[in-house]
């Protein structure tokens, strides 16, 4: 029998997972770190430091402003140079704390020993407090503050905890390597979440194109009760929350509802690893694994990178020749954003930096829809992207509601597959935007 997968739509783009077997290297320290105070969904954190302050690795730089927000810690030690608005990856000005790096001095409270601490002594409330103090957010890309996701609303019951180890974006291998190298930490992290959510069993979902991760996880989970590995068929976008839930449990999150409404919680493996480190090691979230790859990277690699490290520093590390680079993508090629600024910093959400050569950097020319239906077949939500595009062109926003454009998960499958090269995802995003505005 073949492995499980989601049932509506999906595509099989070329994998390009060239860094699968490259161990995570320490990227080292940049000269200057640019640490944004908003690396999550919600309000920016309130800045606690000012120019001239000395900070250590793990020092709290900015405090969560309300529930939907997250703490930001320093990823380096040194002196705060300035606190001001700097151009971020999207070219917008963002509030950043600039730290001149001096040495590598960590806060004493952080346990830096490599031993795995298996015993979970804290109570669920204490665990959630730890997660909050560590500034943990969904590291799969959503950036939703994790404490909210682990606090179950009154009257709801969680039956499934799914640890997302799918990483379905081409090129990216950050989660893959993390599972191979930090499997036990992730497993203990899953047990911590079991305790918080009051459930017995966590499922680590990994897709079949990661045999190394599967082998290591399977071996270690044997000595843990309550954490299991589920191997999934490879298909994009299986890592999308609702698609993964359907694939694993057969339950569909109703349109406009949350996973918890069908008794499910999904956490990315990176997030779970961060939870382990926060709860067992007192370590805030200030570094992450980043895949640096793409056809303009001479030596594509996986790095452990401090948040705030400029992309240019990593580009140097993989011997990317800046003259050859046509495009820099933060994230994966399907959903990632192309950066305007080569010095834009790595954040808690940066799973990859992709360098594309000039001739791969242009969007192909849009031609006429040939009604092939491939976008309809590809859409994992069961939408009709060609129809959305034509309604957006006509400016008929009433009709668009009928087309369920708000359910679009922006996975880009439709635009990827379209032989006429119609930028269907752009039309969907525009449609969503206009529809929300018109309400």
């Amino acid at each position: 029998m073949s492995n499980k997968t989601f049932h509506i739509g999906g595509i099989h783009p070329d994998k390009h997972k060239i860094t699968t077997n490259k161990p995570i290297e320490d990227a080292g320290l940049p000269e200057i770190a640019y640490i944004p105070v908003k690396q999550h969904i919600g309000s920016p954190a309130k800045i606690l430091v000012s120019k001239g302050d000395k900070v250590k690795v793990g020092t709290l730089l900015a405090d969560a402003d309300g529930i939907v927000s997250a703490d930001v810690h320093s990823s380096v030690s040194g002196e705060v140079l300035k606190v001001e608005e700097i151009e971020g990856e999207f070219g917008y000005l963002e509030q950043m704390i600039t730290v001149k790096v001096e040495g590598d001095e960590w806060e004493e409270s952080i346990d830096r020993s490599p031993d795995i601490i298996k015993e979970i002594t804290l109570s669920p409330e204490e665990i959630i407090a730890k997660i909050r103090e560590a500034g943990i957010v969904g590291m799969g890309g959503a950036g939703y503050p994790t404490p909210i996701k682990t606090t179950i609303p009154e009257g709801k019951k969680v039956e499934y905890l799914i640890i997302n180890g799918i990483e379905c974006e081409p090129y990216l291998t950050a989660d893959d390597r993390l599972m191979v190298e930090k499997a036990e930490q992730i497993i203990v992290g899953a047990k911590i979440l079991n305790k918080v959510l009051g459930i017995q069993n966590a499922i680590i979902a990994v897709d079949e194109n990661k045999p190394n991760a599967i082998e290591v996880l399977r071996k270690i989970t044997r000595s843990y009760v309550g954490v299991n590995v589920q191997v999934m068929q490879t298909k994009y976008p299986q890592g999308a929350e609702k698609q993964l839930i359907e694939a694993v449990t057969g339950r569909e999150v109703p349109s406009g509802k949350l996973p918890v409404d069908v008794g499910c919680i999904v956490q990315n493996v990176g997030t779970v690893n961060a939870i382990y480190e926060a709860v067992q090691k007192n370590k805030p979230l200030f570094e992450r694994v980043v895949t640096v790859s793409g056809d303009a990277a001479e030596n594509p690699s996986n790095f452990m990178v401090r948040v705030g490290t400029p992309a240019s520093y990593l580009i140097n590390k993989v011997h990317g020749n800046p003259a050859e680079i046509g495009k820099i993508i933060f994230g994966g090629p399907m959903m990632g954003t192309s950066a305007v600024n080569i010095n834009a910093p790595i954040t808690k959400l940066s799973s990859g930096i992709l360098l594309f050569k000039d001739d791969h950097s242009f969007k192909p020319e849009e031609t006429a829809c040939i009604r092939c239906g491939k976008c309809v077949d590809a859409c994992p939500v069961g939408l009709r992207p060609f129809a959305i595009a034509s309604q957006v062109r006509d400016g008929d926003y009433h009709e668009m509601k009928q087309l369920h454009v708000l359910d679009c998960i922006e996975c880009g499958s439709c635009a990827y597959i379209c032989p006429a090269r119609i930028p269907l995802l752009d039309y969907c995003k525009l449609g969503k935007y206009e529809l929300k505005k018109s309400k």
């Binding site: 680079i325 950066a339 040939i370 309809v376 994992p380 069961g382």
Partner: protein, 330 residues
């Protein structure tokens, strides 16, 4: 200079041009078969139709619509091939030119070009010729294997033509002969029989089908449901006795069914978008094909069946909208 663009930053290797190129490649075995069976005349017909279709599309874009010609996407080549495949190999050149004009200018460009046409352009061209020049459109050169310079004017009947006359018990039966004149399965499978130049060889068309499936240009659904429907209905009629003259295998191998089911009922623009809709469309084509073959004055019904179903596509699309994730699951 850094480029910026919106996601996704990757595209499937398949684009409109590569799809059309694949269809052209898939049609090549049938062209080889046509030349082997009907001689170089077949090649002349094909080249004329292709050249004319491309030229008409280019000229329409250039001088009528004043837009960048779309001929680069090769869809006009496909239309030309399909039109030619639906003609007898002794079709006069000037008639082919008229057919090509109707196919491209009226059947395709008048609707707004690729993707916007309601009816399959090649079939529009074919039916126009059929109505305008019924004599030339139904005189079938006899197959003459490897006689490339087949300039013989000797013509024979198609399998379905023979059956029609028997069914009708018309006086023409004497002319074409009875059931004993039908080709055997082997002849039909290889294409050693009278008919339109591209439709006769089942083998060549099936090779093309396999190629299209392999290249993921089309799914198997439409050809499968179309052909199965014809097989089932004619099978039931045959078992009931007397209602139809030949068993279903001959029904499938004769006429333009394979060419139509594989290459024309799968035309993107003129068929439904969703899997479900495509199946409804294919079954409809199958039913109409049998009805026309059995009860109309025409021996063959594939072209008309597909054209009629083309007109129902918006309706089928409307009733087969896919279910949206997270809504109304039972």
């Amino acid at each position: 200079m850094l480029k910026i663009s919106t996601a996704p930053h990757m595209n499937s290797p398949q684009d409109t041009r590569s799809i059309m190129r694949d269809v052209v490649i898939a049609l090549m075995p049938a062209l080889v078969a046509a030349v082997l069976i009907f001689g170089l005349n077949a090649l002349t017909v094909v080249l004329t139709a292709v050249a004319a279709c491309v030229a008409f599309e280019y000229l329409t874009c250039r001088y009528l619509l004043k837009s960048t010609p779309t001929t680069g996407n090769l869809s006009a080549v496909v239309t030309g091939l399909l039109l030619a495949y639906n003609l007898p190999s002794n079709m006069p050149i000037w008639m082919i030119l008229i057919g090509s004009f109707v196919a491209i200018v009226i059947g395709k460009m008048a609707f707004g070009g690729i993707g916007k046409n309601v009816f399959n352009p090649a079939l529009v061209g074919r039916v126009f010729l059929f109505i305008s020049f019924p004599v030339q459109m139904t005189s079938w050169p006899k197959p003459d294997f490897l006689n490339f310079l087949n300039t013989d004017v000797e013509t024979g009947a198609t399998t379905l033509g023979i059956l029609k006359h028997i069914d009708a018990e018309s006086s023409a039966t004497k002319l074409v002969g009875g059931l004993e004149n039908l080709p055997d399965y082997g002849q039909m499978f290889l294409g050693y029989t009278g008919g339109c130049l591209g439709e006769v060889s089942a083998l060549a068309l099936l090779i093309g089908f396999a190629y299209l499936l392999w290249r993921r240009v089309i799914g198997w659904h439409i050809p499968f449901y179309y052909i199965s429907t014809v097989f089932l209905i004619t099978g039931i009629m045959w078992l009931n006795g007397g209602n139809i003259q030949v068993e279903p295998i001959t029904q499938i191998l004769s006429g333009g069914l394979l060419l139509g089911a594989i290459f024309m009922a799968t035309d993107y623009a003129t068929t439904p978008m969703s899997r479900k809709g495509q199946i409804v469309f294919a079954i409809g084509c199958g039913i109409l094909t049998v009805i026309i073959r059995r009860w109309s004055v025409y021996p063959e019904g594939v072209s008309f069946a597909i054209l009629i179903m083309n007109a129902f596509v918006p309706l089928i699309d409307y009733f087969t909208i896919p279910r949206v994730f997270g809504t109304g699951r039972k």
